[in-house]
Structure formats: C-alpha cells, structure tokens
C-alpha cells in the first residue's frame, strides 16, 4: 500500500475509533426503571383518552389483519367484479329484477298538447280563455306587446 493510501486508511480507521467512543454515552443510572413505569402510565392514559370509536377501528383493523387482509381484499374485488358483470350481461331493454315485488301497472302515454285553450291578449297581457272557465296564470308569463321592440326600433327610455 502506497503512503497516501496508507494515510487514508489510517484516517478512516481513526475516525471509526473516535465514533466508537460514543457507545459510552448512556443515560443516567436508574433511567430504564423509570422508563418502564412511564411507558405503563402512558399506555393507561392513552387507553383512557382515546375515543371508543378509535379503539373500535383499531380492533377492527387488527381483526382484519388476523383474518388475512389480502384475502379480504381479493374477495371484495371478486364480489365487485361479479356485480359489474351481472349488470353488463343483463339483456338491453329488459328490466333487472330488483328482488322485490314492485307495483305493476299500465303506463298511458301523455300527448304533448297545449296546456290551455284560448288566446293571448297582447295589449292587455292576459290570457283570454276560449270557454267559460277562468285560467289563472301569473302575468309575468306574458309581457305586454311593445310595437317598437317588435319593429326593431330602439327602446325609448323615459327619464
């Protein structure tokens, strides 16, 4: 080994020796007995402070982990895939059986006829019914006729 290489190797060894001295750094005597007591106290306090919901979630998590998280995930995935397949495979136009007795009846088509029969009085802005019956429609549905606007002339604004 050449001299610079030797020096580097010595330097590395020296650095390691110095770092190894850190193993003598220890906490005060009696620290570890106190540590265990503190741990037990914290555990108890934690148990008291945590909500029943978080405890339930944690226990459920542990239970599922015991049962086999991956198997649960696979089973859930397979169930979802089957459900999707069933929906896709059902013939188009045929209702999917909802699994309960839905009320059955005839559906009568509704024609798109006028909602009322009559005329609209453009001057008064009201509906004049064709028959005797009165049709109560709100006035905002029909605006009064404005001849200027109809002719495309500019609107006169009164000040």
């Amino acid at each position: 080994m050449s001299s610079p290489e030797r020096r580097t190797a010595d330097g590395l060894e020296r650095a390691q020796q110095l770092v190894r001295l850190k193993r003598y750094e220890q906490p005060d005597e009696g620290y570890f007995e106190g540590f265990l007591k503190e741990f037990q106290q914290r555990q108890r306090a934690d148990l008291m402070q945590r909500s029943s919901r978080s405890l339930f979630c944690e226990r459920l998590g542990t239970y599922l982990a015991d049962f086999g998280g991956r198997r649960m995930l696979l089973a859930g995935g397979a169930a979802c895939a089957l459900a999707l397949l069933f929906v896709r495979v059902a013939p188009e136009g045929q209702p999917v059986d909802a699994g309960f007795d839905a009320p059955r009846g005839e559906v009568t088509p509704v024609s798109a006829g006028p909602l009322f029969e009559g005329e609209i009085d453009l001057w008064e802005g009201m509906v004049v019914p064709a028959g005797d019956e009165e049709i109560d429609l709100p006035l905002f549905m029909v605006e009064p006729f404005d001849s200027r606007r109809a002719a495309g002339e500019p609107e006169i604004i009164e000040l």
Binding site: T8, L18, V19, L21, K22, E25, Q26, P27, F35, Q40
Partner: protein, 197 residues
C-alpha cells in the same frame, strides 16, 4: 458484535406469543430487554436525550399496538429495530433542519465513565484535548451525516451490528450498507481531522 451474531432468531418467541395473548408482563419484559439498545440507536441518531425518551415511548407503544400483526417471519429484534429506525427517520425529517447541537445536548456523565476515560487516555491527541470538546465535535460530525448514513454508522460502529443484520433492518442489500458506511466514514474523517494521531 459477537453478542449480536450469537443471537438466535426466535429467542423472543415465547415472550412475543404471551404478549400477543394479552400478557402485559411479557411485553414489559421485552421493553426492559430492548430499551437500552434502542435508546442507543435513537440517541445517536437524534443527539438529544429528551427527543430520544419521547421517541422511545412512541416506538414501544407502536410495537405494542402492532404486535398482533407481527408474523414472526423475522426475529422480534429485527422487527422492533425496523420500527425504531423508520420512526426515528420520520421524526428527523420533521425536525427543524436548522436544529443545532448545543453543549447542553452533550452527555456530561460520560466524563466520569471509567471505560471511556481508559479508552481516550490510550490515544495521544485525545489526551491533550477536552473530552467535552471531543464529544461535541463527535456529535457535530455525526449530525453532518445524512440521516441514512447516520443510521448505518450508529448500528455498525457504535452498536457493533453486522452488515447483513443492518441490511435486514433497513431492507436494503448488504452492499448498500457497505457503500453507505464507506461514504460516511470518509465524511467523518474530514470532520474529525484535528483529532488525528
């Protein structure tokens, strides 16, 4: 190092099984057994006693909560070390990057440690220097390393663990551990230049 090599992979199995069945005394035994080793790991990575104490409490609490998920594929020792390293690395990411070591963080008890005095008196430059100063510089040099490099130096140089054990804990190859160590030693050498023989 020999202590770690001799370790049987399942030596804690009985205690772990009992703890899983709800025997809190069994878990207390595991805490008593591993707290000094894990304290060293966390302390040398954080360089702060208070942070170490809080983190160590959290580590054992986490281990207790996750114990039923521990399948025994690795030794309990490897498992709890992995939890400790991960939690410490997460903590260090959150800790203020401008955090600096002060003299208050330096362990004063070490100055009266017989073994330490014996070790340092064997080496000429250290004999001349202030032990407190050396400690401060050592801590500074350690904190200059990246968190990942500090973790391998702590486990290998300070705690005497073999490469393959560290590799299992960090879930990296032994080659990666060796390369991190080499790089970290080079950095430490530069920082501790003045304490060279």
């Amino acid at each position: 190092m020999a202590d770690v090599k001799k370790r049987k992979p399942d030596e804690d199995r009985g205690l772990v099984e009992r703890a899983k069945d709800g025997d809190t005394a069994a878990f207390d035994e595991l805490v008593t057994k591993y707290s000094p080793k894990l304290y060293g790991l966390v302390y040398h990575m954080t360089s702060n006693h208070e942070d170490t104490n809080d983190l160590l409490q959290d580590i054992f609490a986490k281990a207790y909560r996750s114990l039923r998920r521990f399948r025994g594929r690795s030794a309990f020792y490897t498992w709890i070390y992995s939890i400790s390293v991960n939690m410490t690395l997460n903590f260090l990411k959150k800790r203020n990057r401008h955090w600096k070591i002060s003299l208050d963080d330096v362990d004063s008890a070490i100055e009266f440690d017989k073994e330490f005095i014996e070790q340092t008196s064997k080496t000429d430059p250290v004999r001349e220097s202030n032990i407190h100063e050396l400690q401060l510089r050592l801590n500074e040099a350690m904190m200059e390393l990246s968190d990942d490099h500090r973790a391998v130096v702590t486990m290998f140089d300070i705690q005497g663990m073999p490469h393959n054990e560290i590799a299992k804990i960090l879930k990296v190859s032994p080659g990666t551990v060796r390369s991190r160590l080499f790089y970290a030693h080079r950095q430490l050498q530069n920082h501790l230049e003045e304490f060279r023989r």
